[in-house]
């Protein structure tokens, strides 16, 4: 428990005493991840085989594509 508390304090103090440059970098990382996962992944990059529910159906679809 004491170890967990020390780890928590280590990160907490690190983040709260971060320099302005560090904060800017975190903002960039968060904005970028939001664009990637909440916009691109959700609206533009649906896996092409997602419509097939089982591995067997996915295999069948790919075999159809490869042997047509």
């Amino acid at each position: 428990m004491e170890t967990l508390k020390r780890i928590w304090l280590f990160y907490y103090e690190g983040f709260t005493s971060m320099t302005p440059m560090g904060k800017t970098l975190w903002v960039i990382i968060i904005v970028k991840l939001i664009i990637m996962f909440a916009v691109l992944r959700l609206f533009f990059f649906k896996p092409a085989l997602a419509n097939y529910n089982t591995p067997e159906a996915k295999s069948h679809a790919v075999i159809e594509n490869l042997t047509k």
């Binding site: 280590f10 990160y11 103090e13 690190g14 983040f15 440059m21 560090g22 800017t24 970098l25 975190w26 960039i28 990382i29 970028k32 991840l33 664009i35 990637m36 691109l40 992944r41 533009f44 990059f45 649906k46 896996p47 092409a48 085989l49 591995p55 996915k58 295999s59 790919v62 075999i63 594509n65 490869l66 042997t67």
Partner: protein, 515 residues
């Protein structure tokens, strides 16, 4: 279909190129920082702590802005290249899962200690964290490069006709294939050269501005030694890479040199310009010269490819025609089949897969066994079924040729650069040599061009294959709308360019502030 393939390839190329703008600096700068902090640990000199912290800031900027740019490549696998993604099966799954674990636990844990821990952990613990961050980033690269190497040299797997997936049968054969080992060493040492040149350039700028003299001089000394030794490793692994390519992807080697007709004692083009109207398999009597002009080094291509000045290097036309003696990477010598023979075997394999499925549906066990046998016997050339004509086997010769020669020429230039910096640095005359300092700064875009050119040789040179001999791009691509791919291409171009501009602005601001 053609435009879909072209757009999907362009999008992947754009993403990979941007991703590789960020990665090499992280890979190399991590070790340079670790060397500097080791100096601080040993001497207790506050100068080294200040120097380490300065370079750490640049490392953090590059890491933060570049982080997750590679994830988009995985999005593209699933959406634009779904047949490929399914076909590679667990070959990619295992290395990428290991990469994810390493990236998450090693980098995030020790990276945090590096930045938050200066006053909270002992000097020794901090130094260990810095080294582990450097090793962690490089270990992440191992697994990505293992996956890429498997596409160049598919080994250690078996194709399962029930699932249409390749299944790993030997992790060692996948992870420790000669291509994987060499590719890792060649790529990371190239990254160390790039990071060293960035350190030299920033330090040279300080000297030109008459600032941070001690930091600049000592940083240049470390970067010159680290970068120079890494460059030697780049050249040695570059040679091994050529011999591997000669044995595994001879078409790529022929394209690298614009070699249409093979020969013993083949020369290496030192400087040359390709004839743009040259075509593969021209009619007898109408053959055009492959070059508008060229200066060649006799027998050097044979030496590079076969370790013998008289070794035979097949040209593009030989590879299409077949019929020459070929020794593969395992040392087996055989007569190379022609394109038509390989295509016939590929068609046998694909038809066998189709018949296997029908036999399975009708419960015909003996037909299943028979078709499975045919598939296994011909699987080596499975992808040739999808290649319509022989000319489609030839990668874009112009891009491959020029990228290869730009890479080599810049590599030679960097040898000279490191030697000059070493000599002038030893004599303490760098401040008196502004032309050399400016040359160091100019070298930054050049080293990025060199690094990207290397990847272009590796990836454009292996077209039309996504997986060598097994799956060409036209069979790997998904049936998505080309307009969707065009839209995301534009989004990526804007997003990545904005990211790059932000990185450069933050980095320049920090450099101007100094240590």
């Amino acid at each position: 279909m053609e435009s879909l393939i072209t757009l999907s390839r362009l999008q992947f190329a754009l993403t990979a190129i941007y991703h590789w703008l960020f990665v090499p600096l992280t890979l190399g700068l991590g070790f340079i920082i670790a060397f500097m902090e080791t100096k601080y640990y040993r001497t207790g000199d506050e100068f080294w702590k200040r120097t380490t912290k300065f370079w750490m800031k640049l490392f953090a900027i590059n890491f933060a802005v570049g982080v997750a740019t590679g994830i988009i490549l995985e999005f593209e696998f699933g959406t634009n290249w779904s047949n490929y993604s399914w076909f590679v099966g667990d070959i990619f799954g295992a290395p990428l899962a290991i990469e994810g674990i390493f990236a998450f636990f090693m980098e995030s844990t020790f990276f945090a200690v590096m930045y938050f821990g200066w006053e909270k952990v002992s000097r020794k613990a901090h130094l260990v964290s810095t080294w582990l961050t450097a090793f962690g980033t490089n270990l992440s690269a191992v697994w990505i490069l293992v996956a890429n190497s498997w596409m160049q040299y598919p080994a250690g797997m078996a194709f399962n006709p029930d699932t249409a997936r390749n299944e790993m049968v030997s992790f060692v054969d996948v992870a420790l294939s000669p291509v994987a080992i060499n590719k890792f060493l060649h790529t990371v040492t190239n990254a160390y050269v790039l990071a060293s040149i960035v350190v030299i350039a920033v330090s040279a700028w300080f000297l030109l501005k008459n600032r941070e003299h001690e930091l600049a001089r000592k940083s240049i000394r470390i970067a010159t030694i680290f970068g120079g030794l890494s460059l030697v490793a780049v050249m040695l692994t570059g040679h091994t890479s050529s011999t591997n390519v000669a044995k595994l992807q001879p078409m790529k080697l022929a394209a690298m040199e614009g070699l249409y007709e093979g020969q013993k004692g083949a020369p290496l083009v030192a400087v040359g310009m390709l004839n743009p109207s040259k075509k593969p398999m021209e009619q007898a009597g109408q053959e055009q010269d492959p070059y508008l002009f060229s200066l060649s080094m006799p027998k050097m291509l044979s030496l590079l490819a076969t370790n013998s000045t008289d070794g035979f290097v097949p040209g593009i036309n030989d590879i299409i025609r077949g019929g020459y003696e070929f020794t593969d990477i395992k040392g087996n010598t055989y007569i190379e089949p022609s394109f038509e023979q390989k295509k016939a075997q590929g068609t046998l394999a694909v038809n066998a897969l189709k018949e296997y499925q029908l036999a399975k549906k009708s419960g015909n066990d003996s037909l299943m066994a028979q078709t499975r046998k045919t598939l296994d016997e011909n699987f080596k050339y499975f992808g040739y079924h999808y290649i319509e004509k022989a000319e489609d086997l030839v990668p874009p010769v112009g891009i491959t040729f020029y990228a290869f020669h730009i890479m080599v020429a810049l590599g030679m230039f960097f040898v000279l650069l490191f030697v000059l910096y070493y000599i002038y640095g030893r004599k303490n005359k760098l401040e008196d040599t502004p032309w050399l300092l400016k040359l160091g700064i100019i070298s930054v875009p050049l080293v990025y061009i060199c690094s990207q050119a290397g990847w272009m040789v590796a990836e454009v040179g292996r077209q039309p294959w996504t997986i060598q001999d097994l799956l060409p791009v036209n069979a790997a691509v998904s049936g998505v709308a080309a307009s969707n791919v065009a839209t995301t291409f534009i989004i990526f171009a804007v997003l990545f360019t904005a990211t790059l501009v932000i990185e450069l602005r933050i980095m320049f601001t920090q450099i101007k502030k100094g240590a």
